[in-house]
């Protein structure tokens, strides 16, 4: 029999996280800092809105773009929170930000187009680029620059084939953010090479100390920017699979065309739930998000301090809900560290290499866990580090 699997499907690497998950699930009593989703449950009002929409019989397809009130609310929300002006017809509701990433890349990639991907970063950019026929070009960000992107790094990675750059901030897994002064620095170089910016702002609501700044809010950048976001992290709605892409009309049309053939529309009940999340949020100034942010912020400070105490040098993250300590001082790679930690202390963390080669000597710990869980976890890390050092 022929081998039916495509070369591309063969080429894309299995997720380093997934590989680790299979091991974790076989160890009884293991606790984990491996999860990339909030430990909060979707607020009741949002769940109730979905139930009501089903009771009312809203069970059909919606328009391909998504229901109008939701897109109007997103437009208002983006304006209120991040000073962005997108018309409702420039917003496409997607099946999570994940589909947003996929549909964007498919809409822009010609065969062989290069897309710059800052690393460490979320695991699906590179495979999605490959599936779209593009070539991912990793741009290694290091702790020395606070895992931020610098103009020099972009300059080094750009070629004639470069078409776009992904801007994954606030960042999973490093927790780095790009404050305005740093965006100012990379802006000219992006214009110089006429790159499209794919700004993945799924963690935009989770920054600590300073408010998230979107590059799409810069004069003239709206037209060279695709903004991807969603409801998973800010509203604890990961399982609902609901996200959106905001882009200038021509690009948005191209994405819509792909989306309507492949997906048809995002799940209807999820759209109503998301719409409620925003309408309700406008009423009380998004108190739900404030509460979650405050809680994450406490855990973040606790984790940074406890990991440093345990002997792992830990950069202070300013966004998302991850810390990304270096394990170099132990003489182990992140993979070795994570595997031994799991075996000896029954604690799962994710090896940094899952997020790109430059994460080799790091591990990712999520602090989307209760303080009890985190306290126990850092105790185990401390014990383990002491033993191997």
């Amino acid at each position: 029999m022929k081998n039916f699997i495509s070369d591309t499907a063969k080429e894309i690497k299995p997720s380093g996280i997934r590989k680790f998950f299979d091991v974790v699930s076989e160890i009884p009593g293991a606790i984990s800092l491996g999860v990339g989703e909030p430990d909060f449950i979707t607020p009741w009002g949002i769940r109730d809105a979905a139930i009501k929409s089903i009771q009312k019989g809203n069970t059909q397809y919606t328009s391909n773009r998504g229901i109008t009130p939701l897109r109007e609310n997103i437009s208002k929300y983006l304006n209120d929170h991040f000073n962005l002006s997108y018309d409702k017809d420039e917003i496409l509701i997607t099946v999570g930000a994940s589909e947003g990433i996929d549909v964007t890349l498919r809409a822009i990639c010609n065969l062989g187009d290069e897309i710059l991907v800052p690393e460490p970063s979320y695991v699906s950019y590179a495979p999605c680029i490959q599936l779209a026929g593009g070539v991912p070009v990793p741009v290694c960000c290091t702790v020395e620059n606070g895992f931020r992107l610098t103009p020099e790094m972009i300059e080094l990675a750009v070629t004639k084939k470069s078409k776009a750059i992904i801007l994954p901030y606030p960042n999973n897994p490093t927790g780095a953010i790009m404050e305005k002064e740093y965006l100012d620095k990379i802006k000219p170089i992006i214009e110089k090479y006429d790159l499209l910016v794919i700004s993945d702002e799924i963690y935009a609501e989770l920054t600590y100390g300073s408010k998230h700044v979107s590059i799409a809010s810069y004069e003239g950048f709206r037209d060279r920017c695709v903004l991807i976001s969603g409801f998973s992290k800010a509203f604890a709605m990961t399982g609902w699979r609901i996200g959106y892409v905001a882009a200038p009309p021509e690009l948005s049309q191209a994405m819509l065309k792909i989306h309507q053939y492949v997906i048809m529309c995002a799940p209807t009940a999820s759209q109503y739930a998301a719409n409620y999340a925003l309408s309700d949020g406008f009423n009380d100034n998004f108190a739900v998000i404030d509460d979650m942010r405050t809680e994450y912020d406490r855990r973040r400070r606790f984790m940074v301090s406890a990991l440093n105490e345990a002997g792992l040098s830990c950069y202070e993250p300013k966004g998302s809900f991850y810390v990304f300590p270096s394990v170099k001082s132990t003489g182990l790679t992140g993979d070795e560290f994570a595997n031994q930690l799991l075996k000896e202390e029954k604690l799962a963390v994710v090896p940094g290499s899952a997020f790109g080669d430059c994460g080799l000597y790091h591990i990712r710990c999520s602090y989307a866990y209760s303080m009890n869980n985190l306290t126990e976890a850092v105790k185990r890390i401390g014990r383990f580090v002491k033993k191997i050092k």
């Binding site: 997720s15 997934r18 998950f21 606790f302 799962a348």
Partner: protein, 163 residues
């Protein structure tokens, strides 16, 4: 100051075993500030007591708890306070609230046996002058205490590792 107190209360209400240094880290303050604030709150009676929440069902003390609704005749110039003073002095009384609605005082008592509680009601509580009537409800099972669910929940619904 008020905000700091609120933040501290939120943390220690969740778990009062956090050291002042941990609390300081979590709130981005220095340890001195935190311990002063806690001490002040203790002195001011804002923090009344530090205690653990126990699910008695799991340690089979065999003790019995009841909620007693008490109707009383408020006294001139003293309202409900003086009768409340009398009631909370009784060692069986664990918790005492003044309530709005159909009765006046909610008295939570604990005794070794059902008979103990019955005797407490008939001999000590009902016999107080201002007490007009009582209704005793025995507590059968505690599902949630002070925000904590007693049943050990199935392990998290989340996957162990995920992007």
């Amino acid at each position: 100051m008020e905000k700091l107190n609120k933040d501290i209360i939120k943390i220690i209400s969740e778990d009062c075993r956090y050291s002042t240094s941990k609390i300081a880290v979590m709130l981005g303050e220095n340890e001195e500030t935190i311990s002063t604030a806690i001490e002040q709150m203790e002195n001011d009676g804002i923090i009344v007591k530090y205690a653990a929440i126990i699910d008695e069902e799991k340690i089979s003390t065999g003790s019995v708890q009841a909620l007693i609704e008490v109707k009383v005749a408020p006294q001139k110039n003293k309202g409900f306070d003086s009768i409340a003073d009398e009631i909370y002095e009784l060692p069986e009384v664990k918790t005492l609230y003044l309530m709005s609605g159909g009765f006046d005082l909610a008295v939570f008592v604990e005794g070794k046996t059902l008979r103990d509680v019955a005797r407490f009601v008939s001999e000590r509580l009902s016999t107080l002058d201002s007490v007009l009537s009582t209704a005793t409800h025995f507590i059968l099972k505690k599902y949630k205490i002070e925000g904590a669910v007693t049943k050990s929940e199935d392990s998290s619904k989340r996957l162990a590792v995920h992007p």
